[in-house]
Point group: C2
Chain length 218, copies 2
C-alpha cells in the first residue's frame, strides 16, 4: 500500500511545521484562523463580514488559498487589508509548509489575526493542520443537511460551525436540527451559528464568539 505510507510521511512533516508555526505566532501574539468549507459556501463573504466587524479592534491579515486565480484576494485587497494569495496549482488543500513560507511576507508585529481561507473542499483541508489557533467550518444551506454525516472530519475538528446563507432556508429542504445533532454527536464542544452574510442575521453573535476565541490566543 505505497500510497497510504506516503500520505503518512507528508502528514508527519506537515504536523512538525504546524507546531513550529504555533510557536512563532504565540511569540508574536498573532491568532491564525483556518476557514474551511465547500466551493461557494461563502467563505470570502463571511471573512469580509468578520473583517468589517473585527478591524475596529484588531489588525488583520488574510492568506487567500486558491487552486489558481486571484478573484478572492482582489476582494480582500479592496478592503485595505494586507493579503497574500497562495495558489496551490491544482492541489486540493493548504499545507503548513506553505503557511510557513508566507508568514514572513507579513509584519507579524503589527498583526493580531490572520485569516486563512482554505481551498473550497470539504475533505482534504481538514486533514492538514496549518498552525491555526482555531478552525471555522462553513456549511451553506443550499448544500444540504446531510453534509456533516458525509464529510465528518471537517466538522469534528472545527471549533465553530457556521450554517451560512441562512436567509435561504425557506427555499431548501434543510433540517438545521439534524446538522446540529450530527455535529455535536461528533464534536460536543463545537459552537454552532446560523448566519446570513447577506442580511447580517446571526452575525453579531458569531462575531462575539470569534472575539472571545481570539482573546485566548496566546
Amino acid at each position: 500500500m505505497k500510497e497510504i505510507k506516503v500520505v503518512k510521511q507528508i502528514m508527519e512533516w506537515n504536523d512538525d511545521v504546524s507546531d513550529k508555526i504555533k510557536e512563532l505566532t504565540a511569540s508574536k501574539n498573532v491568532c491564525i484562523i483556518n476557514v474551511m468549507g465547500s466551493p461557494g459556501a461563502g467563505k470570502t463573504s463571511l471573512i469580509t463580514r468578520l473583517i468589517e466587524e473585527l478591524s475596529k479592534e484588531y489588525k488583520i491579515g488574510v492568506i487567500e488559498g486558491d487552486i489558481t486565480d486571484t478573484i478572492d484576494a482582489v476582494k480582500i485587497d479592496e478592503l485595505g487589508i494586507p493579503v497574500v494569495q497562495l495558489q496551490t496549482d491544482g492541489a486540493c488543500h493548504i499545507e503548513a509548509m506553505s503557511i510557513e513560507h508566507i508568514l514572513p511576507m507579513f509584519n507579524l508585529d503589527e498583526l493580531d489575526i490572520i485569516f486563512v481561507e482554505n481551498i473550497g473542499n470539504l475533505v482534504c483541508p481538514a486533514e492538514f493542520n496549518i498552525g491555526e489557533n482555531f478552525r471555522i467550518a462553513i456549511l451553506s444551506v443550499p448544500e444540504g443537511d446531510d453534509k456533516v454525516a458525509k464529510y465528518p472530519l471537517m466538522f469534528s475538528t472545527s471549533d465553530f460551525l457556521v450554517m451560512h446563507k441562512y436567509d435561504m432556508k425557506e427555499y431548501f429542504d434543510f433540517d438545521d436540527k439534524r446538522v446540529e445533532k450530527d455535529t455535536l454527536d461528533r464534536n460536543p464542544k463545537a459552537k454552532i451559528f446560523r448566519v446570513s452574510s447577506k442580511t447580517g442575521d446571526g452575525l453579531s453573535e458569531f462575531v462575539e464568539a470569534v472575539k472571545d476565541k481570539v482573546s485566548m490566543r496566546s
Copy 2:
C-alpha cells in the same frame, strides 16, 4: 519535492488501470459515466432523474462514492437499481483501482450504463481517470458563478456541464453567461445545460444528450 513525485507515480498507475477498465467495458458494451461536483451540488438527485428517464431503454448500475456512510446508496437502492457503495475512508477522490475492484461485483453482460457518483469535491476527482467513457460536471446555482474560473480542471475535462438547481437562479447573484463563457474558453467542445431536478426544467434536453453520448459507447 518528494510530494509531487509521489503523486505522479500514483497518476501513472491510475491511468494504466483506467485504460484496462476502458478495454473491459468496451468489450462488454458498457458505458461508464463519471459524475462530479461539489458537496450538495445535487449529484444524487440528478443521477436519480437520469435513471428514471434512461431505465426505459437501458439497464443501469451505480457506484456510489463517499468518504463514509451509505446515505446516497440507500436512495439508489430504493429505485431497484444495482448499486455498490465505495467508501474512500477519508480520501477525497475515486481512483481507477477502486473501480477495477468493484466492476466484477456487477454482471456486466446485463448492464448498459454504470454511473459513478464521485466524491463531492471540485478539485481532486478531476485529476483521476477512472475508466469512464465521459464526464458530467455539475455546478449548482447557489455555489456561485466564479467556480469554473476557480476550479478549472474539472470543467475543462468534462463533456457536459450541468448548471443545476436552476430554479433557484432568481434568488442568487448567478451569471449563467459567465459560467458558459468560462467553460467554453477552456473547453470549446463542452455541452452546457441548465437543469432543475426539482421542477424537471431543462431535463429532457439533457437526457437526450446523454443518450446520444451513450449510443457512441463502443
